[in-house]
């Protein structure tokens, strides 16, 4: 009886020891990964560029990744304009040819934009056609209202 009890206790102790060693190793591992998550990314994976999913997807006439109108010339705009700023900055602005040309000149003079060569015409046409200024009167109507039931 006494021997069996001692054996049972020994088994229990070795179990406990095993579990605590496992826990310590596990927690140290977690700590290291937490400090340096890059460890979890295998070098092999990094050598291959991640696929840019849906980067050319167009939905309802809009290029999904940037939000630009997917009309003739939009790839040229992405390639030349989004190197330095978000497409959002294009999308929210409006203007005629002169306005967009003067912005390009300003970016070339002060912001390090390169000579656009033959692409300048493509870009200016695209912008002035798809992002032209509309006269809204002294106050536009409210638009894009999402109606909802107001709970009391």
């Amino acid at each position: 009886m006494g021997k069996e009890l001692i054996n049972a206790l020994k088994r229990l102790l070795s179990w406990l020891l095993g579990i605590s060693i496992f826990l310590v190793v596990f927690m140290v591992g977690l700590l290291i990964i937490n400090q340096n998550p890059a460890m979890m990314i295998s070098e092999e994976k990094e050598d291959k560029p991640e696929p840019l999913i849906h980067s050319d997807l167009v939905k309802d006439g809009i290029h999904v990744a940037t939000g630009l109108v997917a009309k003739e010339g939009y790839e040229t705009v992405i390639a030349n304009c989004t190197n330095c700023h978000a497409a959002d900055l294009v999308i929210q602005n409006r203007g005629d040819r002169a306005h967009w040309e003067s912005l390009i000149k300003w970016m070339q003079a002060t912001q390090g934009l390169w000579d656009l060569g033959k692409n300048e015409e493509i870009i200016v046409s695209y912008l002035s056609e798809n992002y032209s200024a509309e006269q809204k009167g002294r106050r536009a109507n409210l638009s894009g209202i999402e109606w909802y039931e107001l709970k009391k």
Binding site: E46, D56, E75, T76, C84, L89, Q92, A133, Y148, L150
Partner: protein
């Protein structure tokens, strides 16, 4: 420094991916050649491919609108600004340059120099906090270009709608106490700030923005060198660990990541101090008129304005129901003395209950119970009037080349009965 360590670690995998990816691969993904791509700096990622989530990065409510990601510009929305004290999650971000990457609070110093100080003096952050009394004020900060999107002809730049305004609690030491300690001469006319953010070009010799305020504003009791916002360290995107806060002036005067204050014997001549930046024509001009820089005047006090923060636009209520409307009103250096709303496009106006500001330069809260005469579509228009008797225009105010200071009445849409 909040979160920056873990963020940079998490990004390292992505950065390595970028380094290993050739321009050709970018071009293939874009379906267009990156023309003159050889001019791009090494390791440069076209912004279209940046995966940073600003909401997570800056602890922001998902309903904020991202206007730009380089530099970061996010605006809030009227119904998000219903809190009496704006919390971090709902506060707009307007940056001119890149947020500083390395911030070491232990070594952080504020230099006070310039032509109009008796001698240059340097304070550590601990010096500032221990040497001077602390004050907390609730201060309205509004971007000078808030409402720009409504001007015609359009001004270029971020097309802010109504959400580039906040009113948080700022805690710090008074700039006037610090200037007194340094010793300012009679020659002082302006102060200019210098900050740790970096120019978009990466050129360390260029400052993205270095503005300031006239000396009268610098010496006001509410002008703070702030180290806390809403009782905690200032969030990184809002100027951690130290920023100038000058409520009532365009928020661009409240420099973030503050490193140096120069007491000048001239109007400060830092980046974005000169016209046309943060300037409007000295005399009224016709829409689209060219204005010479010398005919532009620097914006000081912001104009009177208000915002309906409850309910959110688009509310449908039952026939005969009354509607509670509430919001905030502010008036730059002045106080708002009257607040009215109209449900008939300005034919008649109803007075709102208007609270006093908790301190000078804090926004004021208003509320009103509305009844509608019959079912149908309504707009609730809100109009504040300042202590000089100047009210908000219902139309877009006088045009200016850069689209500043649009303080036209805010309005929301409401449908009564029938659910449209």
């Amino acid at each position: 420094m909040p979160n920056s360590k873990s963020k940079s670690k998490n990004n390292s995998g992505r950065r390595r991916f970028i380094r290993n990816t050739s321009l050709a691969a970018f071009s293939a993904a874009l379906g267009a050649e990156i023309v003159f791509g050889k001019n791009m700096p090494k390791d440069y990622v076209p912004v279209a491919f940046k995966a940073d989530d600003p909401y997570q990065l800056f602890n922001k409510n998902k309903e904020l609108i991202v206007l730009n990601n380089k530099p970061w510009n996010l605006e809030s929305r009227p119904h998000l600004l219903d809190d009496k004290i704006t919390p971090e999650e709902k506060m707009f971000i307007r940056n001119n340059g890149l947020i500083p990457k390395e911030i070491n609070v232990r070594n952080w110093e504020l230099v006070v120099d310039g032509e109009a100080v008796k001698a240059k003096k340097i304070f550590s952050l601990a010096d500032l906090k221990s040497k001077f009394n602390h004050y907390t004020y609730q201060l309205t900060l509004e971007c000078g270009g808030n409402g720009r999107s409504e001007f015609y002809p359009p001004a270029s730049g971020n097309q802010w709608k109504t959400g580039a305004v906040s009113c948080a609690n700022w805690t710090g030491v008074r700039l006037k106490d610090v200037l007194e300690d340094v010793g300012v001469t009679d020659a002082a006319v302006y102060i200019g700030y210098h900050s740790a953010d970096t120019h978009l070009s990466g050129d360390p010799n260029k400052e993205p923005i270095s503005r300031g305020v006239p000396i009268f504003k610098a010496l006001q009791e509410e002008t703070l060198l702030a180290f806390a916002m809403n009782g905690k360290d200032i969030p990184l995107a809002h100027g951690y660990p130290l920023r100038l806060v000058a409520g009532g002036f365009p928020a661009s005067a409240s420099g973030k990541w503050l490193k140096r204050i120069s007491v000048r014997d001239i109007v400060h001549d830092g980046a974005k101090m000169a016209a046309p930046s943060y300037s409007v024509p000295c005399k009224p001009v016709a829409p689209g008129e060219k204005v010479a820089n010398e005919d532009m005047c620097i914006i000081e006090s912001m104009p009177v304005k208000s915002l309906i923060t409850y309910p959110k636009t688009g509310a449908m209520i039952g026939s005969g129901d009354s509607l509670e409307v509430r919001g905030h009103a502010w008036a730059g250096e002045l106080e708002v003395s009257e607040m009215e709303v109209s449900i008939d496009f300005g034919e008649t106006w109803q007075k709102c209950q208007l609270e006093k500001p908790v301190n000078r330069l804090a926004w004021q809260h208003f509320n009103v119970q509305l009844k509608f005469p019959k079912d149908g579509y309504y707009e609730v228009w809100a109009k504040a009037t300042d202590s000089n008797g100047v009210g908000q225009p219902m139309v877009v105010p006088g045009w200016n080349p850069k689209g500043y200071l649009n303080n036209a009445c805010h309005r929301i849409a409401v449908k009564v009965g029938g659910n449209g």
